[in-house]
Amino acid sequence: SQQGEEDPQALSIQEGENATMNCSYKTSINNLQWYRQNSGRGLVHLILIRSNEREKHSGRLRVTLDTSKKSSSLLITASRAADTASYFCATARSGGYQKVTFGTGTKLQVIP
């Protein structure tokens, strides 16, 4: 079964609005990462947040992590049409080797 589950599965917003996507996971983690995928091919890394961090920013992206709730959120502010893509969270479990497990993704559509 997937370690991470994103919600919503799909999100449609107007350009300029903010988009929030959530990710829940099941086991203790070492870190959580967010990725973006265009056109169903390779994924591009967006941001990594460690288990001892609570919030991280990168440009228009803001990621929060709540380890007590085993959840994370990705906020994209002032969205653009070019942000249209699928967004995935991925977790690396703590202990032992690092195995990165992906969620099912959120499809974001930003309407110009």
């Binding site: 990594l48 080797y97 990165v100």
Partner: protein
């Protein structure tokens, strides 16, 4: 991205034939992953390599699937006696160590007809 090359980019094969997919990453990344993504779906973990060994093969769907890695670098995923349900994009990713990002190739789109 970041020097992970997958070949072929696209592969159409007849049902029952064997296929070999290749992942050629830049050096220095000890961890290598294979994932499968069916149309419109999430990423399905297949296998993880640490160096040349595979401590986790739990995602391989059946014994028709196998993978190897040599020299801590190039990896091949082999699918024997392909079936139509094997049609998907197969993605390879590498990472250096814990707390580092994974770099993905552009994937191989496999179509079994």
């Amino acid at each position: 991205g970041a020097g992970v090359s997958q070949s072929p980019s696209n592969k159409v094969t007849e049902k029952g034939k064997d296929v070999e997919l290749r992942c050629d990453p830049i050096s220095g990344h000890t961890a290598l992953y294979w994932y499968r993504q069916s149309l419109g779906q999430g990423l399905e973990f297949l296998i993880y390599f640490q160096g040349n060994s595979a401590p986790d093969k739990s995602g391989l769907p059946s014994d028709r699937f196998s993978a190897e890695r040599t020299g801590g670098s190039v990896s091949t995923l082999t699918i024997q006696r392909t079936q139509q349900e094997d049609s998907a994009v197969y993605l390879c990713a590498v990472s250096g160590s814990q707390n580092t990002e994974a770099f993905f190739g552009q994937g191989t789109r496999l179509t079994v007809v």
